[in-house]
Structure formats: C-alpha cells, structure tokens
Symmetry: C2
Subunit: 329 residues, 2 copies
C-alpha cells in the first residue's frame, strides 16, 4: 500500500491496467479495497477491484480484476494529507507482505512509498523501509540499498545523512561490507557469475594522488584491495565524474558510491522514471519504485506508474535468478 | 596548442578535417608546424599544415590547409610523455592567443588541454588555465567555470579542492558572486534575456528541512534570496538528485552547483564527449574541450575531436551573442 495519502494507490491501479505487458508479473495489493475502488472511480480508471482472501485466489482473479488483500484504513485517506491514524495500517501492510513472502505464499515484496514523518509520529523507530525490512527479516547484517535503471546499478555506501556526516562515516570496513553484500546480491539475485564492482572515489578526480583529498589513499583503495583479496572483482577508486558515461558503465555491473548524490544523481539523470530501489542482503526479494509519496500531485491522476512497473518487473527477474541460484546450490 | 605530449595536436588535425561542418568556425592553431605535420603523417591524416604570419593570412588559407602560427618547441614532443623543456611554449601559446584576441585580431580563444604537473615544474603559479586567463585579463573578479553540453549548463561554485574543503569553502557570498557572473554571462554571451538559475542544495534531499544538514538553511537559501533581490531569477536550494532529469533541466538555463562532482557527474553522464568548458567573466570569449591531455591514448589517433569541435562551435556562438549584446548596449 505505502502511504494511502500518496500516489501509491493510483500507480497500483495504473500498473494493473498494464498487466498484459510481458514484463509485468501478477501481483496482489495489500490495501483498503474501498479506497482503491473509490480512487479508480474518481480518476476514471477502468479497474475492477476484487477483495481476495489469499495469494492463491489473487492469482486466479488477476487477469480480470485487481486483487486486494483487505486492510481497512482507520480514516478515508485524503490525497496529499498524510494521516497519523492510518500509520498502523501502513506498517501492517509491510508486515503482511513480509509474512506472505517468508511463508512462501508470495514470491517477492514490492513496496509503495511511505512518508517518514507520519510513521515517526506513530512511533515507527526505523529511518525507512529498508531498515524496517531488515529488522523484520532479522538478518543481523546491514541492509544494502541498490538503485537500478536500464544500464546502471548504484549502491550508496552512506545514505541519508548530511554530506559532512557522510564523509565522516566513510571507512574501509563499511565499503568492504557493502561491496561484499553487493557482489553476493548480484550473483544470487541477478545471475551475474563474476560481478564487477566499480568503486568511486570521494573527491574530484579521485583526489588526484592526494592533492585534493586523501580519503582515496587512506580509505577507499584499502577497501578495494580487501575486496580483491576476497576474490571480488572490484576496481577503483575512480574519478566520480567520468565513471557514469555509457562507455564507462559498460565496464561494471554496479557502482559502489561514497555518498547519496554521487549514486542518485547519475541514476536519476539517466533513469528518468525507470529507477528501481532494491534491498540486497535480505532473505527475500524486495523492490520499490525509486520515488517518494509525491503528496504534491497525489490524487490528480498524473503520477507515472513507470517506476512501479520497473520495480515489479525487476522483482520478478530477481525471483527467477534466485530460484536458479538456489537450484544450482 | 595545449600540452604537445597530449591529444591536443591530433584533435586539432581532426577538427580541421571537419571544417566544412556548418558549426565549425575557421580557426588558427598556435603550435609547432613541424610537429603537427609530422603527427598528421604518423596518423595518416590528410591535413596540409601551413605556417602563417597572422590571423588574416590564416583565414585566407583555412579552406585548403590548417593554418599554424609558428611556435617552435624546445624538444620534439613524445606522445604521453610531458616534457618540462616545452612548458614555456605551452604558456606562450596561451599568451599569444590572449594577445591576438585582446588586439581584436581573433574573435575567441579555444585552449587545448594542459597538464598542471609539467607547468608547475616550470614555475607556472596558477591552478589551471582558467586562473591564468583571468590573470592575463586582469579582471579582478574570480573567473567562473561553466560547463555546457546540449541540454545542460552547470557552474560549480567550488572546484578543485577536496570534498571536505569544498563544504568548508561554501559561503553565501561565494554563491551570490558566482550567481551574478553566471547570470551576466548567460545574458551577454548566450543571448538569454532573463536567465533562470537553478541553485543546488549541498546535502541529500537538500537537507530535508535541516534534518540532513543545515547548509541549505544557513548558506544556500540566503544566497538565493540575495540573487532574487538583485532581480536574478534564481530558485532553490533544490534536491541535487532530481534536478538533472530532462524535465527538470527544461526549467533553467544553468545549474549553480555546490561542488565539482555535483556539476560534473550529470554533465559528463549526459554530455558524453560533447562537453565544453567555458570561462565566464573574462573580457574575451574562451572555451576548451572538457577533457584532459589523455596522455594514456595520445599519439594513437583514437582521441575524439567531438569536444574540441563543440568548444569551437560554442565559442563562435558566444562571439555572435556578445557582438549583438554590444551592438544593443
């Protein structure tokens, strides 16, 4: 569901309309059927909404209607106005999805965007989806956020902290840990036998030999050396500005980036609305669109379903790759 | 000329071969005619090299031969091996270009890449071309580096310093000064009557209201306010990751960026090999390709002349716009 005051509902309806596209797998919404039916009517979308009892029933109806596992909301949502009373249902939607996938009754979790503010007010103690899912999964290792669009996968080593704090948080150990999880994820979930990791520098021109910053020498290169010693095909530190050209991108399977915007600027610049957010290191497949709740345009019917469609397609591809990896193991 | 051990010579020869393209203006190389003739022969390029005495003669021969104002080198250059003995000629090439343009005998200066190391050894006291040109011009204001490719212009407020130092160097005054020079440059050199400046934040999500860094609140927003008060159409601070999508780019004429890679990552990601480096705030038009000396591929004939061609074309456009602005004033 995501935040029902955001664009999650309308992009879910639009994604169902595109159900005959080859890349779109069958899916089940965990949401309030009444609010989805009402949203479809308001937006003039021809989407029959069908409450279902479980995923098996969902698969049977998917061709003819949008299957919805009912999760009644406390308050009818108003587009653009997040409502703390509905926060427990936002959380329950995620928990239910994880329960179904862990029980083997669903193949993957795809999450619509949530808004942290309203969840914090309701006592949600996690910085975001990714950390909540890692907690539900009980993995003990940090979750890794990978963002992907056609032609580029990026992993920011530091995420939602100020740029100043991101620099302070950088360490060889952190880069190595993220590199390991990324390489393992590319092998297991993307079927890439020998993943190539491009490791970015922090500073302009990757520090130019220490003249413009020493983090490359003291932190990043030692991490590349450790990864190489573990048999992971890592290379870098690379000058950040030239590593995202089409020619450079052809040389690696994922870029390990030192801070949020070093990863997100090229991803969003190239990917337009085809970006997918993927959590690596979980015992199940999880993706999401790479945009937010977009409260400013919610309910107007203009939100694009492209990123959600890409998230659904990517999840399906990852499930296939993971099954193959499992069968081979 | 640029550094004669770099790719400057071969891309100059290749650019002359493209002289009939509508966008390529007539140009004069300030270089060693013998080394260019020998390079053309080595690379199998059919480029007659013609020593000329001045720009007027150059224009007369340009259709039939590459005109070269002779600047004999101390030592025959070896591709990929910068030679300190030639450093005075690298410097003299720039000085001659500036003298010709200041005397009204050439319309613009286009510089091939130089390598700082070899110039430093020869006592060159400037961080790069841009600062040397500002010194030759004696403007007293800081030179502003703008990079442009089709669909995007960016101005990094801080440039060749570590990311840590870039954050420390940010100030409202610096952003305002860069914004003013950028707006004036867009008006005078690009014929944009009312330039729109998109001002980037420093932190992820532009700090998200102060939760991920306070520079947006304390430094960037006050700069936007000053620029607005001066009648410059500035807006921001914007979240850095979403401001370079095609849709976002359509909303501004230049992006004012807080650090090198925030500007250069999107530019090089979008621009491939069509980027141009432009110095604003000089009394003459100056552009250059946005790549370096590329010692690793020099002399192999594989270097692309695209960026130099774009630099030549952009310089010509700027000259026309500046003449119009001068005539109107």
């Amino acid at each position: 569901m995501g935040d029902p005051a955001g664009i999650g509902g309308e992009i879910t309806l639009k994604a169902w309309i595109r159900r005959k596209d080859a890349a779109v797998p069958a899916f089940l919404a965990i949401d309030d059927p009444d609010r989805l039916a009402s949203l479809a009517k308001t937006m003039g979308l021809d989407v029959p909404v069908r409450p279902v009892a479980d995923p098996a029933e969902a698969m049977a109806v998917f061709a003819d209607a949008l299957p919805v596992l009912p999760l009644p909301l406390a308050v009818p949502p108003v587009p653009g106005r997040p409502e703390p009373a509905n926060a427990p249902m936002i959380r329950a939607s995620i928990e239910t999805a994880v329960r179904l996938v862990r029980a083997g009754r669903a193949a993957a979790v795809v999450t619509n965007p949530i808004h942290k503010g309203v969840l914090y007010q309701a006592g949600f103690p996690f910085p975001g989806h990714t950390e909540f899912l890692a907690d539900l999964a009980g993995t003990g290792t940090p979750p890794v956020m990978m963002l992907a669009c056609p032609g580029l996968r990026v992993v920011p080593v530091t995420i939602h902290v100020s740029l100043r704090d991101a620099i302070a948080a950088l360490s060889t150990g952190l880069i190595v840990e993220m590199g390991r999880i990324t390489a393992e994820g590319l092998r297991r979930d993307f079927g890439i036998g020998r993943p190539r990791l491009a490791v970015a520098g922090l500073n302009p021109h990757a520090g130019e030999g220490g003249g413009m910053g020493r983090e490359e020498i003291e932190i990043v290169r030692p991490a590349v050396d450790v990864l190489l010693a573990e048999g992971i095909e890592a290379f870098g530190p690379l000058p950040p500005d030239t590593m995202f050209t089409p020619e450079a991108r052809a040389g690696y399977d994922a870029a390990l980036c030192m801070y949020h915007d070093q990863a997100l600027i090229p991803l969003k610049t190239i990917g337009f609305d085809k970006g997918v957010n993927i959590t690596l290191g979980l015992p199940f497949v999880r993706t999401s669109p790479d945009h937010g709740t977009a409260f400013d345009i919610a309910g107007r019917g203009v939100a694009s379903e492209s990123s959600l469609l890409a998230a659904l397609a990517t999840a399906a591809e990852m499930v296939v790759a993971r099954d193959k990896a499992g069968a081979a193991a």
